[in-house]
């Protein structure tokens, strides 16, 4: 994954214009807890790089303005709507069991 907003899970906030330095830090800390550097060093590198790209408003603007890194397939998969699980309808379950 190349897009730092996606890596830190901050795309929605970015679009809402509600993204600030604190939100970036919170997202970074949360991800570090989920992927401790000693256990997942590669993942950590990716998270760290994304954090360094978005740490401040100035850095975020720099990324938005001048970064020309292309998205990869994983980035593109974000085009799918975010996963929010829906309980299936009774009709659907009956169809599956029948």
């Amino acid at each position: 994954m190349n897009d730092p907003y996606l890596i830190l899970g901050l795309l929605e906030q970015k679009v809402d214009d509600s993204l600030d330095d604190k939100a970036v830090k919170v997202a970074y800390t949360r991800l570090l807890q989920q992927h401790p550097p000693d256990r997942e060093p590669e993942k950590f590198k990716q998270i760290r790089k994304a954090f360094e790209q978005l740490e401040t408003q100035k850095k975020r603007l720099k990324y938005d303005l001048l970064d020309m890194t292309l998205p990869d397939q994983e980035d593109l998969s974000v085009l799918l709507p975010a996963t929010s699980l829906h309980r299936p309808s009774l009709q659907l379950v009956q169809k599956l069991l029948g």
Binding site: V15, K58, L65, L70, L79, P88, L96, G98
Partner: protein, 872 residues
């Protein structure tokens, strides 16, 4: 009977007659052959005839069961479940298992519950238990006829209500606590236990996907609840993994899985398909096409705002990059058709990115960026937008500073400085840029602007140690020692053990002491030296203080009184004798005090009688240390050593040592000594062309003979693969052989008076401003390549022309049809007319014809015109 049916009947009879004629062995053999080639229907026919004609043997019955099983599976696989059930039914008379799981599965799938119930009633308790989950699932699917036939105490019937309530509660979104409560009514032996397990897993899945996956995996794939479990398993997968699994599902399962994930839409399938086609490392072209296709196919309501933003953002980014490739997949019209029309601001922004990505010359990039920033400034409405606008402006100005620095050999020039100034106006919090500016001004000895910039820098960064450190250096350079001490104290307030600040303070006091010395204010000299001693310094500063103290004694109390002081410091200083000697000379000359007596007192007068290599290098070391920390001139004390140093040029220096000495002499500006050393070293090391460089480096011009020597040295350096020397010699050659770079351009010093040799390059070389455009045009031409069609070239020129300033347009018009005519167009139609003239030429019209329309005659073409001529 129709003709077709009659034919079919005839064929059957004919076939049957043919089968009846076969012997039992032949029938058996043919049945076996049919079985091995999966022709189950033929095998059944042969075996049934065999059974009719002979006594039923175990072997024949086994073959028949095999044929029936094969046929039933064949039908089920083809989706003919009811037919498969019927075949199995018939085969039970030949011994096929009436409770075989496959058979039961088909019964359930074909919803023939009456049959299932019938079988169930005939089974013993043990077999009934194995069939109960099938019946339970069938009951939950809505077929309640099964329940009527079951005994009241049958678990399928007794647990049904609780299970059904649980299912309904789950589907209607009942909360976790309620569901747990209802699950208690279903025991672990209940035929509905798998449902309970699935709902339990779902509740975990709502919190964390990993644990849920494990819980669901406990359900066997033979369970009638497995299809439901499988959907949940899919729902727990990450999007990319889901995409892989998704493609292998049946249509019904796929729709169900998408529904659970909330993606139940045909468009989702399109996305999945497109993304799968991309592969792991998509090219720019593939990305462009995919994004375009997706942006056209996805309707807004199916996209979250985030994905829409990202799609737009990324599509444009891909577009900018793909434009670099002449075979790009996207064009402007396609882009705007898919992601909407671009605003002026967006358009200018992408023009900026385009010139950046294509590495156009900085002059061209600057214009595009300036135009974007102008638009940005006019569109910023609220406070946040204005703040962002300033930051964006600062970022882009930073980009321009860096670009210009690369373009101008990593130096700050007037051009890059103007962007640096603008950047600091937009974003004064950028401490690195302040440092860059102050460092440059200090190096260039531009102390007045440095002091102004320092004021602003410190207003925004009052405790920045690096800026304060520069402030000290700037103050010392300007002999403002009190100010320097003040800045150093500010550093120490932030960082009390900062050794650099302590050293600065010492130098500030020392310099101030020297100043007071010249004015003979002895008490102040004393005070400053006392203060200097308070700070932790180096052995050098210690000796400097001691030397000044000794000079003070000499000035106040006479030579005799100072003799012991000089003698003591000469003995006690841990510095080299050469260093002490130089410091005495240096300080003495600086405070206008005779150093000869002092040296005599320090017993150092004979030190340079016999110069050797160690003394030379000790001198280099001390001079460099002093230069680093003290602004005082070192040329006078060095001049006092010129005789022994000249003598030392004969010493047997190795090439490395020789290079070090020469570099030092360049650094201190001792041209005469450099000439002496490099001549001697060149004679000694004939195969080392670097000494030719040192010999001529400070020359303003060279005669042909010297130029020849330099060229020869350059050739040798190239042959020796000595890139560093070769590049230095090339630079020097360029400088010395370029008449424009010299104030003596065109003079007799350069050229012989032979008329054939005289040439004026200014006729052929474009002016610097014009050069930028030439560069832009060349880059543009390179981009489209030789094979590009005229339309592509015209497009690039069309992009260049609108940004051409009046001067360039005038030059172009002038080169096309003469100055007078160009002036006429300008007078008559202003810049607009000039631009129109060039644009018409771009469209393929002859310049003369265009001019004719305007009533003006044509002239000869020029350098720029010939280049643009290629583009036209």
């Amino acid at each position: 009977m129709s003709r077709g049916n009659r034919d079919l009947s005839k064929r059957k009879k004919h076939k049957s007659r043919r089968t009846n004629k076969l012997s039992p062995q032949q029938l058996k053999l043919q049945a076996q052959q049919a079985l091995s080639s999966h022709h189950y229907k033929i095998a059944i026919q042969h075996l049934k005839v065999l059974l009719k004609n002979t006594e039923a043997s175990d072997e024949t019955l086994a073959l028949l069961r095999q044929a029936y099983t094969g046929r039933a599976e064949e039908l089920a696989e083809a989706g003919m479940i009811t037919e498969a059930v019927s075949i199995w039914d018939v085969a039970t008379q030949y011994g096929l298992d009436p409770v075989d799981s496959r058979y039961l599965d088909w019964i359930v799938r074909s919803q023939q519950y009456y049959r299932l119930n019938k079988i169930y009633q005939q089974l013993d308790a043990k077999d009934q238990r194995s069939l109960q989950p099938q019946l339970a699932a069938a009951c939950l699917s809505g077929d309640l006829s099964i329940l009527k036939a079951l005994a009241e105490d049958d678990p399928v019937k007794s647990d049904y209500l609780a299970a059904n309530d649980l299912l309904q509660a789950w589907c209607s979104g009942e909360n976790e606590a309620q569901l747990h409560q209802q699950m208690k009514a279903i025991s672990f032996r209940s035929p509905y236990r798998d449902l309970r397990q699935i709902i339990q897993a779902w509740l975990i899945l709502e919190k964390t996907s990993q644990q849920a996956g494990k819980a669901i995996q406990r359900i066997a794939n033979t369970s009638p609840f497995y299809p439901l479990a499988q959907q949940l398993l899919l729902a727990s997968l990450d999007a990319p993994e889901f995409m892989v699994q998704h493609s292998s599902l049946s249509l019904a399962s796929r729709n169900c899985a998408l529904d659970i994930r909330g993606w139940n839409d045909k468009q989702t399938a399109i996305i999945l398909k497109k993304l799968q086609q991309l592969g792991e490392k998509p090219t720019v072209k593939m990305l462009s096409n995919t994004l375009l296709a997706l942006s056209k196919q996805l309707t807004e309501d199916k996209l979250t705002s985030a994905t829409k933003y990202w799609l737009n953002h990324t599509t444009k980014k891909v577009w900018v990059i793909s434009k670099k490739d002449s075979h790009h997949a996207l064009n402007y019209n396609n882009l705007t058709a898919s992601v909407g029309a671009l605003t002026t601001l967006e358009e200018r922004y992408y023009q900026c990115l385009f010139v950046i990505v294509n590495e156009m010359p900085p002059a061209y990039v600057s214009r595009k960026i300036e135009s974007y920033l102008e638009e940005l400034k006019s569109t910023a409405n609220n406070k946040i937008e204005k703040a962002n606008q300033l930051l964006i402006s600062a970022l882009l100005n930073r980009y321009l500073v860096d670009e210009w620095k690369i373009y101008e050999e990593h130096k700050l020039t007037d051009k890059s400085l103007s962007f640096l100034d603008q950047l600091l106006l937009d974003d004064p919090s950028d401490d690195k840029s302040w440092l860059e500016l102050l460092e440059y001004q200090l190096q260039q000895k531009k102390l007045k602007p440095a002091r102004d910039a320092l004021k602003d820098a410190l207003a925004h960064h009052p405790e920045n140690i690096k800026i304060l450190d520069l402030a000290v250096r700037i103050a010392i350079k300007g002999n403002a020692f009190v100010k320097a001490a003040g800045y150093a104290k500010r550093i120490l307030a932030v960082d009390p053990i900062n050794s650099s600040a302590q050293l600065h303070l010492q130098y500030a006091h020392l310099s101030h002491a020297s100043k007071q010395f010249k004015q003979k204010k002895w008490h102040l000299v004393h005070k400053e030296l006392d203060q200097a001693q308070q700070w932790k310094g180096t052995e050098l500063t210690k000796t400097l203080i001691e030397v000044l103290q000794a000079y003070q004694i000499q000035a106040e109390k006479g030579v005799q009184a100072a003799a012991s002081a000089f003698q003591t410091l000469s003995k006690t200083s841990t510095l080299d004798k050469v260093a002490v000697d130089f410091i005495i000379r240096h300080q003495g000359l600086h405070i206008n005090h005779a150093h000869a007596t002092a040296l005599k007192n320090a017993k150092l007068t004979t030190l340079w009688n016999k110069p050797d290599k160690d003394k030379v290098f000790a001198l280099i070391d001390i001079v460099q240390q002093l230069m680093k920390n003290s602004p005082k001139s070192i040329s006078k004390p060095l001049d006092s050593l010129s005789k022994p140093l000249k003598k030392a040029a004969k010493l047997p220096f190795s090439t490395t040592e020789g290079e070090r000495v020469c570099e030092f002499l360049i650094q201190v500006g001792e041209d005469a000594l450099l000439n002496e050393y490099s001549l001697k070293l060149r004679q000694k090391h004939k195969n080392h062309p670097v000494f030719n460089y040192y010999l001529f480096v400070n020359h303003k011009y060279l005669d042909y003979k010297a130029l020849g020597q330099l060229e020869e040295a350059w050739e040798i350096a190239k042959e020796q693969n000595d890139d560093a020397t070769s590049s230095r010699l090339a630079g020097l050659l360029h400088k010395l052989s370029n008449p424009f770079a010299s104030p003596f351009s065109g003079s007799d010093l350069f050229f012989d008076k032979d008329e054939d040799d005289e040439w004026d390059m200014s006729d052929e070389m474009p002016a610097p401003e014009e050069m930028e455009l030439v560069m832009a045009a060349m880059v543009a031409m390179e981009m489209v390549g030789d094979d590009a069609d005229e339309r592509e070239k015209a497009k690039i020129m069309a992009d260049l022309l609108p940004i051409m300033p009046q001067k360039e347009l005038f030059d172009l018009a002038e080169n096309l049809l003469g100055e007078e005519n160009a002036q006429l167009i300008l007078d008559k139609l202003e810049v607009k007319g000039l631009r129109t003239f060039c644009q018409r030429c771009l469209k393929g019209e002859e310049p003369e014809d265009v001019m004719k329309d305007m009533g003006i005659a044509s002239t000869k073409p020029s350098f720029l015109n010939s280049l643009f001529g290629d583009l036209f």
